[in-house]
């Protein structure tokens, strides 16, 4: 198995006595989209600053693409970074900013055209000074600047902020394409649906400590489902006497839809039972988000989930 792109062991950063991140241990594998999830203040951005060498760890080690990140290191030419709250030099146009970033990276920008097309950055957008661009256009410029040099590792700190849903979808497709080329993405977010839709694995952070590491597919498989059934009229009769579905629990009716809770592992059973019920329509939704939040709340006040032992 190839060496991880990012390795963190016992990674700790204190500000005074307060730990922004505490004893983090995680690996990011080559060619994956790694979700880094947590609410504001959980330590996501501090971790990213450590990965880029913008700040130094108080304890522990971090290695990125086999090297210890430091300011000015040639390693940074292989990384693309989208900061959480980026600022742009207002007097420069979008094109000048892309040129500046490419020049500072001392690498060609073979993917600039592709990145701009994917994000919908027009020639007019790129010709305007950044101070006159909308927040969304500024965010697109920052993303294009991070991707244009085809980096081996993309580090994204809540990158979809300010993007409209259509562009978000195209951006996620672009990240999948990036992964398909064997590149790696470190995707920090507090939006569960993004992580579920995009990431291969997820690490969840709370108060600077890792509380969960899992493959997204495992998390999704372990999550409950919500089953919506649309019954033929009269619906009122169905509400007072909802059809029984093995393993599923009836929750409520909404308009002419009935809502059931389906525990994980019962999907095949309910599909079999639906054939006998003859609904007009049905929808089966993953309750990933609710399940995750429930897990998150359960850990609140508890000790963080044990992390792997620190290396010697």
């Amino acid at each position: 198995m190839s060496e991880p792109v990012v390795v963190a062991r016992g990674l700790t950063r204190l500000y005074g006595r307060q730990a922004a991140v505490d004893s983090l241990n995680f690996d990011v594998r080559p060619g994956e989209i790694f979700g880094y999830l947590g609410p504001n203040g959980a330590g996501k951005t501090t971790t990213i600053r450590l990965l880029l060498g913008l700040i130094r760890p108080t304890r522990g080690v971090v290695r990125v693409l086999g090297q210890t990140p430091r300011s000015g290191s040639p390693l940074l030419a292989r990384i693309g970074y989208v900061p959480g709250e980026p600022g742009l030099p207002g007097h420069l146009t979008g094109r000048q900013i892309l040129n500046l970033c490419a020049g500072l990276g001392a690498r060609p920008a073979p993917l600039r055209g592709w990145a701009c097309d994917m994000l919908g950055l027009s020639a007019e957008d790129l010709a305007k000074p950044a101070h006159s661009c909308s927040r969304g256009v500024k965010q697109k410029i920052v993303i294009a600047a991070a991707m244009q040099h085809d980096p081996d590792l993309l580090i994204l700190d809540e990158p979809t902020t300010g993007l409209d849903p259509l562009v978000q979808s195209d951006f996620m497709d672009a990240l999948r394409e990036h992964r398909a080329r064997g590149k790696t993405v470190f995707f920090s977010s507090h939006v569960l649906s993004e992580v579920e839709a995009l990431c291969d694995r997820v690490t969840v952070l709370r108060d600077g400590r890792i509380i969960l590491e899992s493959a997204v597919t495992e998390l999704a498989a372990a999550a409950e489902r919500r089953l919506w059934l649309r019954m033929p009229p009269p619906v009122r009769g169905a509400v007072t006497n909802p059809p029984a579905i093995r393993g599923a629990e009836f929750l409520r009716a909404q308009d002419d839809w009935l809502l059931y809770r389906v525990p994980a592992g019962h999907v095949q059973t309910i599909i079999a039972d639906l054939a006998d019920i003859y609904p007009l329509d049905f929808r089966l939704e993953s309750a990933f988000e609710e399940g995750f939040l429930s897990l998150y709340r359960r850990t609140e006040g508890e000790a963080a989930i044990a992390t792997p032992p620190e290396p010697s």
């Binding site: 880029l52 913008l54 700040i55 000015g72 030419a77 742009l88 030099p89 500046l100």
Partner: protein, 274 residues
């Protein structure tokens, strides 16, 4: 180690940031020095100024260098102009503002992450900023010299002005601007907001100006002047030709280098939450 191409790109970026203030201050310095010659002529070749100058206290005349270089000579008139507080304030504002913008300003505008996430070392960043500031200081100081010579030429007074003396004053002023820029760079490297960097630098520079003035006009405090950068900037001495400027230039240049080195060390050690 940063790639030379990346450093070059960053230098151009820093140079561009200083374009507008650099050109404005240079144009102001050029216009001011041209105007000074015109005023000299308007005052009857400085005769009226000389009458006025006699009423200036001896200590202040000594401070301005007109005790030995009378105001009714173009050299004397120019030497006062070269150390006029308005001119010094305008010229020294340039390195102070630029250094604040190029380091602390990048932190404040949250644009630093664009640079620091690229393979450009922090020391290279400080060197690039310092070089860009030096270029604009040279342009502004040079524009003042050009204004003096152009003004004298237009008024037919070229023979009264020694180009060598003007060049010497210009280089002395340039090194003073560099030394002030070094202090600005140090405070900028230690700050996350431009106003902090500018505030601290202006405070130090004003204290130095007052210190030098006090040392010049109050014999009991004469020794204090050596601690001020302004002690090493004396335009009248270049016109008198009785002074070896090497010590002044070396002190100012050394001050600029030492403060810039400290700035690089501070910038390199900082944690950036950008």
């Amino acid at each position: 180690m940063s790639a030379p191409r990346a450093i070059g790109r960053l230098f151009l970026h820093h140079l561009r940031r200083g374009l507008l203030p650099g050109l404005v201050v240079a144009a102001a310095a050029f216009g001011f020095h041209m105007l000074v010659v015109r005023i000299y002529v308007a005052l009857g070749s400085g005769a009226e100024a000389q009458v006025f100058g006699r009423h200036i206290p001896q200590a202040l005349r000594q401070f301005l260098g007109i005790d030995r270089l009378p105001l009714n000579t173009l050299a004397g008139f120019m030497s006062v102009a070269w150390q006029h507080p308005f001119l010094l304030a305008a010229l020294l504002a340039l390195p102070i503002a630029l250094t604040a913008s190029l380091l602390a300003g990048e932190v404040e505008r949250r644009t630093l992450s664009l640079i620091l996430s690229r393979p450009v070392g922090r020391v290279a960043q400080v060197v690039s900023a310092a070089t860009a500031v030096a270029v604009w200081c040279a342009v502004a100081a040079g524009a003042g010299a050009a204004g003096s010579l152009a003004g004298a030429g237009l008024m037919g007074l070229s023979a009264q002005v020694s180009p060598g003396a003007v060049a010497g004053i210009t280089f002395n002023l340039f090194t003073l601007m560099l030394a002030v820029g070094g202090i600005g760079l140090l405070f900028s490297a230690a700050s996350s907001e431009q106003t902090d960097a500018v505030g601290w630098t202006v405070t130090i520079i004003l204290l130095m100006y007052v210190l030098n003035f006090t040392a010049q006009v109050w014999p009991a405090a004469a020794g204090w002047g050596d601690a001020s950068l302004f002690r090493y900037y004396a335009p009248s001495r270049y016109f008198l030709g009785t002074h070896d400027p090497a010590r002044d230039l070396m002190v100012l240049a050394a001050s600029a280098l030492v403060t810039a080195a400290f700035a690089a060390a501070v910038w390199r050690m900082r944690d950036f939450t950008v």
